[in-house]
């Protein structure tokens, strides 16, 4: 399939964001920049003065930054994992959504890593991790697996992007030099296509275990310690499930925005949202299952040191966070997602926002209460994040949105060639495939 030959009339709208930039874009851009600069200033303030400017203290040594770290890494599971699974399952409806998902993965990973770096007391010694690595530490497992994940998902994002870059190269317009470099001489020959397809499917397979490992390892940061309510084997799957859960939610939100802003209603249709909604519903139930198991195990065991934290979450100081988490992760999304009537783009958007908030709270409720109640008597310290931490968090979110926006301005956020391929080739393919397992169809 020669891209030159490809008629773009049908999909011209997909290139519009790249070709035209409205006032709204700049308004958003500058307001995001303002937030980012503010956050940068906040971080500089922390860098100069020390972590004392946060709300952390002994024994609550970890707070919002670590919560954000887990949260962002969780969000990153949106893309690669979902897209890879859908690709492998050859779900046709995936074609218009994979790109937007994969971009989330790559971009948001930086913020996960960034948050851990911002949490360091000595960021100037950050490179010690490379110079004196100590592989017994789960943090180093994180470093390794996140690096691999970032590399793999970048490749996984980039490969399917090549034909589209070639389209942009051939179509003229801005940044020709950039597209020329990135297109890697794509000509759309059969061979190239074949290679590309192969590459994509290899990556799709590779990326799944890596993604699973990443979040498992993130959970290990907690689970490998012997602290009450951290030291549990369920944390691996629990974190992975939670990650996919929040990832899908993030994807739905992103899709909703793209759809509205770039008028892609034709590409991102209710059925996509419905399908993703079902997936989210599954994850909601799975999340509930894990949460329920975890807390039941703790409760039934009734170890005093665990129970202190348990009751603190259920009825004590952290009850608002805990029940908030339950509300946002389960009570709100469940009914919305259960009915097809409400699994509309709008309905899933509400459910997803709720899930994202809930999942942030979940991470907070995992990190902070355990640290607040160490095994030995300790002074009662209340952790409340300071303006620095909130600013940095806001900055991270803004920066992510900014990068995402910029991406949509440089590259098509819906994969053009895949959509076209779907339209042309898959039809046939699907028919072929269906023939293999259903009788009486396709017999012309």
């Amino acid at each position: 399939m020669d891209p030159k030959r490809m008629s773009l009339e049908e999909d011209a709208i997909l290139l519009q964001p790249i070709q035209r930039t409205g006032k709204a874009f700049y308004v958003t851009l500058f307001s995001l920049l303002a937030v980012i600069l503010w956050a940068a200033w906040a971080y500089m303030y922390q860098y100069r003065n020390g972590l004392g400017v946060t709300g952390l203290a002994r024994p609550i040594f970890w707070g919002v930054y670590i919560t954000n770290f887990v949260f962002f890494i969780g969000i990153s599971h949106a893309g690669t994992l979902i897209s890879a699974i859908l690709r492998l399952a050859k779900a046709e409806w995936r074609r218009s959504i994979t790109r937007s998902a994969e971009v989330i993965t790559v971009l948001v990973l930086f913020f996960g890593v960034g948050n851990i770096l911002m949490d360091l007391g000595r960021p100037d010694r950050m490179l010690n991790i490379l110079q004196y690595p100590h592989f017994k530490s789960p943090l180093l497992w994180d470093v390794s697996s996140i690096t691999v994940y970032l590399t793999a998902s970048s490749i996984y994002l980039y490969l399917p992007l090549i034909p589209d870059i070639a389209i942009l190269r051939d179509h003229g317009g801005k940044y020709q030099w950039l597209y020329r470099i990135l297109a890697l001489g794509w000509k759309g020959t059969e061979k190239q296509h074949h290679l590309l397809e192969r590459g994509i499917s290899i990556m799709a397979i590779l990326v799944i275990p890596i993604a699973v490992s990443v979040h498992t390892v993130v959970s290990f940061v907690f689970a490998m310690t012997i602290q009450p309510m951290w030291h549990t084997a369920i944390f691996g799957p629990y974190f992975v499930a939670g990650a996919i859960f929040s990832g899908i939610a993030a994807l739905i939100v992103a899709m909703n925005l793209i759809r509205k802003v770039y008028h892609l209603e034709d590409y991102l249709r209710p059925v996509h949202f419905n399908n993703l909604g079902v997936l989210l519903l599954v994850m909601t139930l799975l999340w509930f299952y894990f949460t329920f198991t975890e807390y039941l195990t703790t409760y039934y065991g009734g170890e005093p040191i665990h129970m202190t934290i348990f009751w603190n979450k259920f009825t004590g100081r952290f009850a608002p966070y805990f029940w908030g988490m339950f509300l946002f992760c389960f009570v709100i999304p469940l009914p919305i997602l259960s009915f097809q009537k409400t699994r509309t783009p709008y309905g899933t958007l509400i459910a997803s926002i709720s899930v994202i908030i809930g999942m942030w709270l979940e991470r907070y409720v995992i990190v902070v209460p355990t640290l607040t109640h160490p095994r030995l008597p300790n002074e009662t310290v209340l952790y409340s994040p300071t303006w620095v931490e909130w600013s940095v968090f806001a900055g991270c979110v803004s920066f992510f949105i900014l990068l995402y926006m910029t991406f949509t301005k440089l590259f098509p956020i819906v994969s053009i060639w895949e959509v076209q391929e779907g339209r042309e080739k898959s039809m046939a393919e699907v028919q072929e495939r269906i023939k293999t397992y259903l009788p009486g169809i396709g017999v012309e």
């Binding site: 002994r58 609550i60 040594f61 360091l120 007391g121 010694r125 010690n128 470093v143 490998m224 030995l376």
Partner: protein, 228 residues
């Protein structure tokens, strides 16, 4: 045989006076943390008197327990350090190399005894006090973790002195500042590998117990319980 340094704290002798805490501050240049920061929980104590107050009025069971770093045989903190800035040396002392620490505070969260503290700000002293810092011990910088070292610098000095005097290290040559200060002489320090040392003998007493023994960290700080 290699030394294995350990401490025994006889709670029956301990009067809860906190001399150990003050002695530790003076010995180890522990940062002065003012009232505002102290209210946030940023106070640093390498050894701290912990209260256990159980029961209901008027039937109360209360205990005071000085808690230094346990210098565990299987420390939870060492494993998790991503840069190997904390480690146990051959003699069993769990040390921190402050100049390598990146301040990730993983060890502080992993330690089940919460003995580790973090320098939230750059420690500062009024200029009138600076000259009175202990010159044998580093002054920590902001952003690093610190904790009890069993006054390891005293061991360095004691060893050197013994070598200079051409003799073996004697049991009383090396004791940490807290042990030295303890007015009710509730603290003992010595070599746990030597079966005849005072600490060894006491560690085999019926009253001997270790904190959070079931975690399997095998502390080298051993307590002797109160009462008969």
């Amino acid at each position: 045989m290699m030394h294995k340094w350990g401490m025994v704290i006889d709670l029956d002798r301990c009067s809860g006076c906190q001399a150990c805490m003050a002695a530790c501050h003076a010995e180890n240049n522990i940062a002065i943390v003012g009232p505002e920061e102290a209210a946030k929980g940023r106070t640093i104590h390498w050894i701290e008197l912990l209260p256990y107050i159980e029961g209901e009025f008027p039937h109360i069971k209360a205990r005071l327990l000085p808690r230094p770093c346990m210098h565990c045989e299987h420390p939870a903190c060492i494993k998790v350090c991503p840069v190997g800035a904390t480690y146990a040396n051959e003699e069993g002392i769990v040390g921190i190399i402050h100049s390598r620490c990146i301040g990730c505070r993983y060890c502080t969260t992993a330690c089940p005894y919460t003995v580790r503290s973090f320098n939230w700000y750059e420690p500062r002293w009024p200029k009138e006090m600076k000259g009175s810092l202990n010159r044998d011990v580093s002054v920590r910088k902001k952003g690093v973790v610190e904790k009890c070292s069993f006054c390891h610098h005293r061991l360095l000095r004691a060893r050197e002195k013994a070598r200079a005097e051409n003799r073996e290290l004697l049991p009383d040559d090396y004791i940490p500042a807290c042990v030295q200060a303890c007015p009710s002489q509730a603290m003992y320090f010595g070599d746990l590998n030597d079966p005849f040392s005072k600490v060894s003998e006491l560690s085999r007493e019926r009253r001997a117990f270790k904190l959070l023994e079931d975690l399997g960290t095998e502390p080298k700080v051993i307590y002797l319980s109160e009462g008969m």
